[in-house]
């Protein structure tokens, strides 16, 4: 499936910026379930500094906010050809050892709630079924409610509050999976929605490493494993490691965030392209 994406993030500052840096993890890389056909990022109110690969193999761009700017706009757009691999990415790439993904982080530490959730989990014949059960249990316990949580919310907090967004779903799932002894990671990415093309945030889900199978994706928010409608952008131990934009700004003042995201399928041109090949 060919997906066309346009994702713009606008930060508006109440006082002009003195100095600041932002790491952008907004460049999908080609892999077993996707080929990046074209991609570009455009920045306003900041200057490009670096492009490098981080420890998880994510393509990272560092930008420096322009002194005096009151607004930064980061726009990522491009086309990605995806393949439905049933949520399974069999191989592990890069040098990050699998055991690293068993390390808990402040956002994914298992508290009483997560330990109970794991204890109450229905027995299953195989690991994939067990983990789908976990995903369903989290979906039941944590309602999808935008605005109830923020980027600092921990897995345990979200579970106790019973509300959150895809990021919280992923964190709870990762915390529980690691508590059960599975290496797990956070995935940030895009999702083609059926209903409306305009979205107000990018998506997130989790992947678990299963011996003999590889990395298997679980999208708690939608109760499924990722298919051809998903584009993976970045992975890491948690949101902090894989966040689309992470930064540091010196100076006082508030900032407001606005996201415009469009993911659409390019059915016809995709098929034409295939015919012309």
């Amino acid at each position: 499936m060919r997906l066309v994406i346009s994702h713009s993030t606008t930060y508006t500052y109440s006082t002009p910026v003195r100095h600041g840096l932002q790491e952008l993890r907004l460049r999908p890389v080609s892999g077993p379930c996707q080929s990046v056909l074209a991609w570009d990022t455009e920045i306003v109110g900041a200057t490009h500094q670096l492009l490098f690969d981080d420890e998880y193999g994510n393509r990272v761009e560092l930008i420096r906010l322009t002194a005096g700017a009151t607004e930064t706009v980061v726009t990522a757009r491009g086309e990605v050809e995806t393949e439905d691999v049933g949520g399974v990415i069999s191989s592990h790439s890069g040098h990050a050892p699998i055991w690293l993904f068993q390390r808990s982080t402040p956002r994914t530490a298992a508290g009483t709630g997560i330990r109970e959730l794991c204890r109450d989990l229905a027995e299953a014949d195989d690991e994939v079924t067990l983990l789908h059960g976990l995903s369903a249990a989290i979906g039941e316990r944590v309602d999808y409610v935008p605005g109830q949580s923020d980027v600092e919310t921990t897995a345990e907090d979200a579970l106790v509050a019973g509300a959150g967004v895809c990021q919280d779903h992923a964190h709870v799932f990762i915390a529980a999976a690691r508590h059960l002894g599975y290496p797990a990671r956070y995935v940030s990415g895009y999702l083609l929605l059926g209903s409306s093309e305009q979205q107000d945030a990018s998506h997130a889900w989790a992947e678990v490493w299963l011996e003999g199978l590889g990395w298997v994706g679980f999208d708690v928010s939608n109760g499924i494993s990722p298919d051809g409608r998903y584009v993976r952008i970045a992975t890491g131990l948690d949101y902090r490691a894989a966040a689309p934009i992470k930064g540091l700004r010196y100076g006082s003042g508030e900032e407001a965030l606005h996201v415009e995201l469009e993911v659409r399928a390019e059915w016809e041109s995709g098929q034409q392209q295939q015919r012309s090949r």
Binding site: L21, Q49, P97, Q102, L248
Partner: protein, 475 residues
């Protein structure tokens, strides 16, 4: 002079004859008036005070700046003895760099089962941000200060590898300078190898590790946490000796993909950053976000290949006390050679059998915290009171993996000058190795630390240790 029974004295061996490296010194000493020497000793202290070498001692009074005592009797090593140490250190340093590259890439040594994975995976010193990162020139430990002790004529042991940010080299240089000023005649009589080339060598060695895109004369800067740091003097001293800038985090920022410093001439990109700031504080964007001492973005510039950080972040995984006991395996695995220098036998308290042994033999052992440094948080069994032993037994049982234990070594002694004449005191040695892609330079000599209290085995300056000039003879 008395020799401490059961301990090798480097001047007198185990008897009364003077060992070969000390013969010339002994001849000179015998002709000297002890009162003149004691006066010289006081002069030396005044000289240090003027130069400003002081050291803040943690745990003492607020900002308790005091002098590290200097003893005027040199510690002398024969050329043949030095050759052994030099080869052994070089082997260790090479192996450690190979290990660091491996542990942050394919981890062959774990796949081969030579080190249990848990030793790395449970270790805070393993820095995920270094995964897949090859520093410019492939060098991880640009400066290493290996702590070595001696127990006999031909017995040397490595105590610690100090692969993060070893300090103390300024004492090596200042001690020699002081000796040259006070006793110039000694150096015409004895052919002592100079140490004064260290700053030039440091500059050359760091320059050789600059990113490939740097020019012929790479820009080097020393990053210090600032004047409140206990080793600030050394940071300023080394920057001055190398004729490079001494900078603090707030002097630096990311510009056009490089780390630049503001100077009177404008912004200048830095090729090599000799940082004396710990990993945790190095980059608030990546590590501790409350750090005021680092530079936001420096790790990104590093990963993109735009700067050399010396020593590389994450080198702590090589000199961690939990790894120490595996260094002989590390040497064998990467070089295929037998270790030239001994490791001290080490019990890993994380292993139940070892813990049981350690608890049974506490009175004979030295117990150290795996992540501790500077002689803090350790138990010296033979010198410990019943109460101290009981308290350590509790700590060991509660948290065994935090500790290792080693036998108390019969450290060699070297005489110091006291009012009653020469008296033996225990010493260790920290030579400094400089690593560049093409070669390893080890300055002949190093920092000799001496326990000034009679029979004490603790040489750390933070616990009342002093220093000596260290001589390596030409022949």
């Amino acid at each position: 002079m008395d020799v401490r029974p059961g301990h090798f004295d480097e001047m007198h061996g185990s008897g009364t004859t003077v060992r070969a490296p000390y013969v010339d010194y002994q001849d000179w000493f015998a002709d000297e008036d002890p009162r003149r020497l004691l006066k010289k000793s006081a002069d030396a202290e005044a000289l240090f005070r003027r130069t400003g070498i002081t050291f803040n001692v943690y745990g003492g009074a607020e900002a308790d700046e005091r002098l590290i005592p200097f003893d005027i009797v040199p510690r002398i090593l024969a050329a043949s003895e030095w050759a052994v140490l030099e080869r052994g250190m070089e082997q260790r340093v090479r192996a450690i760099n190979a290990f660091l590259h491996d542990i942050y890439h394919r981890q062959e040594i774990l796949r081969a089962g030579r080190i249990p994975t848990s030793v790395i995976s449970d270790n805070e010193a393993f820095l995920p941000q270094m995964i897949g990162m090859t520093p410019p020139g492939g060098v991880y430990t640009h400066i290493v200060g290996t702590d070595i002790v001696r127990t006999g004529e031909n017995e040397f042991y490595v105590l610690e590898d100090n692969a993060r940010t070893p300090s103390g080299v300024s004492y090596m240089l200042e001690n020699r300078e002081t000796m040259l000023q006070m006793f110039p005649e000694l150096f015409t009589k004895s052919r002592v190898r100079p140490v004064s080339e260290y700053p030039t060598d440091l500059r050359t060695s760091l320059g050789a590790c600059a990113p490939a895109a740097s020019g012929n004369r790479p820009t080097i800067a020393v990053l210090t946490p600032g004047i409140h740091n206990s080793a600030y003097f050394e940071h300023a001293f080394l920057a001055d000796q190398m004729s490079v800038e001494l900078v603090e985090g707030h002097d630096l920022s990311v510009e056009d993909g490089r780390i630049v410093m503001r100077t009177t001439r404008g912004s200048e990109p830095i090729d090599v950053l000799y940082r004396r700031v710990d990993d945790d504080f190095l980059d608030p964007l990546i590590f501790r976000s409350d750090s005021q001492l680092g530079i936001a973005g420096v790790m990104d510039v590093y990963r993109a290949g735009g700067i050399t950080i010396a020593n590389a972040p994450g080198t702590g995984i090589a000199d961690d006390k939990a790894i120490y006991s595996y260094v002989p395996d590390i040497i064998d695995f990467y070089t295929g050679e037998k270790p030239l220098l001994n490791n001290v036998p080490t019990w890993r308290c994380a292993e139940p059998d070892s813990l049981a042994y350690v608890l049974d033999h506490l009175a004979e052992l030295v117990v150290k915290e795996v992540h501790g440094s500077g002689g803090y948080g350790m138990l010296v069994g033979p010198a410990a009171s019943k109460r101290e032993m009981a308290s350590f037994t509790k700590k060991l049982k509660a948290n065994p993996s935090k500790y290792i234990a080693q036998p108390t070594l019969a450290l060699s002694t070297v005489p110091i000058l006291t009012r009653a004449g020469l008296a033996p005191r225990h010493v260790d040695l920290r030579p400094f190795a400089l690593v560049s892609p093409d070669r390893i330079r080890i300055t002949p000599g190093g920092l000799t630390r001496v326990a000034l209290k009679r029979n004490s085995l603790v040489v750390n300056s933070s616990q009342g240790g002093g220093t000596k000039d260290t001589w390596v003879m030409e022949t």
